[in-house]
Assembly symmetry: C2
Homo-oligomer: 459 residues x 2
């Protein structure tokens, strides 16, 4: 069969030169996250539009105080103070609800969905409270509700569970879903600070929500766990059905004793299903997790989620769970999916883009060569066991400007043959290869040097 | 605006009761992976079809020897030995190319794409070699090419990079992409076995490809790194432009010295881009990776990929990179996307399914209660510092059948007040809470017991 050809561009039947369609996006709330989304769309606009085959217009925004000065440049005429006006504006295709809260945000979300719009939301509290109503409104109104940013910020966990692992039934999903709690527990563990000392630091860094109970008593984690429960089992568990415990009672001593027992303490949101009776359970608990588990190494403000499916086994996904940029990344991913939905595109955008029908490579994707790559190195040499060899070797390296970071000279066991392990400071791939060739030429070096790279990635 | 309503069901304008459309799937190759896909679709058919709103028919398969006995039940009449016959069969909507190789598989893939079909493939070698041609053929013929299973098996990394993190430019992607090499390096590290001893074990377990060089010399990792390079930068790097090193020369001593220096050795596929000049570099290298990095804890046959985007920062994704089930999970995810494409669905399937227009919860998703949950526990008690307290406490626990796994009695520092740390063997949530209530009633217990869960998840 041949697939129906869908118009990626304007719908006008008279237009000969297909013009990319314009997608109007409205914001409800233009705080930290909203400004991040706006900023990054502006910055990567060429590439995004190139991939999508559509023009993105940041059309209007509802804010509490339109007169307030903002770091993001936006004309005063595009701002209003009425969320419902944006939600129902017939000129808008996509509405991003980024104001938070569960009263006005709910009204605006439902109004937009009833008009058949696509709503993109990071509002986990609202989704947890009114998920059923929201999806019903979307269905009835012909709209869609996208919520990648609501759980685990930058980690695309919604997409992973719902699409990437669609083949699976999920017996167990658990994760570190609140970066603030993880930051506090990590600081206590690594620096021996008490809860009270750490919370002061977290407040200073702006890591704690205005309503501290959301973070510290586990409610934020609970909202996210309820959403994961829905994704995994199609069921909205009520918040009052979820046992929720926070981290306030954990002492420095608990963390120390847990360490002695081979564990770290992490606040986990857990969605489990009994394999025998199929019953689902959602809970939030500070948990001792073995140091042999990957999630025990997920520290600071990072989130991490372990997803166990009956086919795939366990996959683990780690990344920043909050903050302007990570959340913006998730919101923009939803906006992209929303644009595909609006354009009737049914497959993901091609990597090389498809703008105006011409296939082209993303600008700037030239190939590097060896001289462009640098890093730290590990060199193993098999050498003659006699004095002065290290001096010879280091002279060769010094000549090429390769700086030695450490030397290990294990005791020789094979009579005349010894091993020499060198690590280097940052050097160039081309130069290090030349160094190895020169070392090989030394009489005291018995084999071709064995070179390994040391990861010094800035990630 | 109102979204165009698309028919999720049969296209017949006369049909009053919308009947789910039937999707015919053909297989080219019915080996380990093909049989896994077939098996899991059969097993989860009700749920999958429920979510998709379509009937999946495993229509026919091309195999080397149709007469051979197979664990998967399939009628002889559905088998043939001609890949091209399946590739071009007008009755088929989706063709899964799971035969491997780059000659016949290439012919069949291109033929199917030219007929406008959707091809689902796990063939990283073919994609690496002929990616450009394949996507051109798909574009020209109106077909699609899906390849989630080609990189990192069960981890939906293609979807994560291409859709979930679409907002980002990727300065760095690196990962453990070959489970066999990771298994060998982990065994050497943990058990002090030499490369030769470990490879024998790996062969015995069937972990090594028939062509061992693919795994051990890094070529399989290179195929996957090239695909990641395409996804991140829209560019097909030629295999001959990729410096590729394997793991054969790594000795037990290298692993030991690396350990002393604070590193583990992992074979990495690396796709980097120079932030300054935008140049892209793809390479495969055994690399010393610091024990502070999450990927250094990804052991055995697991794969792990670190993806650094300019907006989201670093996300890490870990899971099984090979094997019948993990690969089948990825192939089924692609089949699901293919079905959405065929049905013109432009948003992911709802969690609660949408079969015949009725919204319903996945069968079996009942809520559990406390008595259904069991696990290991950590209990901190503040007790009077006098002899006999432990006896009292253990008597209370024994009465409820809670078995103590360990006791820590730190030296008392506050005169009459001491702390007691207990861990339990597996117990029931309801019973442990009753235990805590009973402990609180003891005169020698000064505060409410502090209870933490110990993760004993089977993941």
């Amino acid at each position: 069969m041949r697939l129906p050809v869908r118009s990626f561009f304007s719908y006008s039947p008279f237009c000969k030169m297909a013009k990319p369609r314009t997608i109007n996006i409205g914001f409800i709330g233009l705080g930290i996250v909203g400004q991040g989304v706006w900023k990054h769309i502006q910055r990567n606009r060429a590439e995004l539009e190139h991939r999508l085959g559509a023009r993105l217009v940041l059309h209007s925004a509802a804010v509490r105080d339109p007169a307030k000065k903002r770091p993001v440049r936006i004309s005063r005429s595009r701002l209003c103070s009425d969320p419902l006006a944006v939600a129902t504006d017939p000129k808008l295709d996509i509405v991003c609800e980024l104001m938070g809260g569960t009263t006005l945000a709910k009204k605006a979300t439902l109004a937009a969905l009833r008009c058949g719009k696509i709503v993109v939301s990071a509002n986990k509290a609202l989704l947890c409270q009114s998920g059923e109503k929201i999806f019903q409104a979307a269905k009835k109104g012909g709209g869609h509700f996208f919520f990648e940013a609501s759980v685990a910020g930058g980690i695309p966990i919604i997409k992973v569970i719902r699409e990437g692992l669609v083949a699976n039934r999920f017996d167990l999903i658990y994760g570190i879903l609140n970066g603030t709690c993880n930051y506090i527990l990590t600081r206590m563990d690594c620096e021996g600070l008490t809860f009270d000392e750490t919370i002061k630091e977290a407040r200073r860094l702006g890591y704690v929500e205005a309503d501290e109970s959301l973070d510290l008593d586990g409610w934020d984690t609970a909202h996210k766990a309820v959403i994961l429960g829905y994704l995994a089992h199609g069921k909205w568990v009520k918040l009052r059905q979820v046992p929720v415990e926070g981290i306030r009672r954990i002492t420095l001593e608990d963390i120390g004793w847990a360490r002695d027992l081979g564990y770290k303490i992490k606040l986990l949101g857990i969605v489990s299903r009994d394999a025998k009776n199929g019953k689902v359970f959602v809970r939030v608990q500070p948990t001792l997790i073995s140091k042999t588990k990957i999630l025990s190494h997920v520290d600071d403000v990072f989130n991490g989620i372990s997803v166990t499916g009956d086919i795939v086994g366990t996959t683990v996904h780690i990344g920043r769970g909050a903050g302007q940029d990570a959340t913006a990344s998730a919101v923009i991913s939803d906006i992209t999916d929303a644009v595909s939905t609006l354009l009737g595109k049914t497959s993901p955008p091609p990597a090389e883009g498809d703008f105006g029908g011409k296939t082209s490579v993303i600008p700037g994707a030239e190939l590097a060569d060896l001289s462009d790559i640098s890093g730290h190195y590990y060199i193993r040499l098999s050498v003659v066991d006699k004095p002065g060899v290290l001096a010879e070797v280091s002279a060769v390296m010094a000549k090429l400007g390769v700086s030695i970071a450490s030397v290990i000279q294990p005791k020789a066991t094979l009579g005349k043959k010894a091993t020499l392990i060198l690590t280097t400071h940052s050097s160039n791939e081309k130069i290090i290869q030349e160094t190895c060739r020169n070392l090989k030429r030394l009489k005291s070096v018995l084999n071709a040097p064995f070179l390994l790279r040391i990861a010094d990635f800035k990630d």
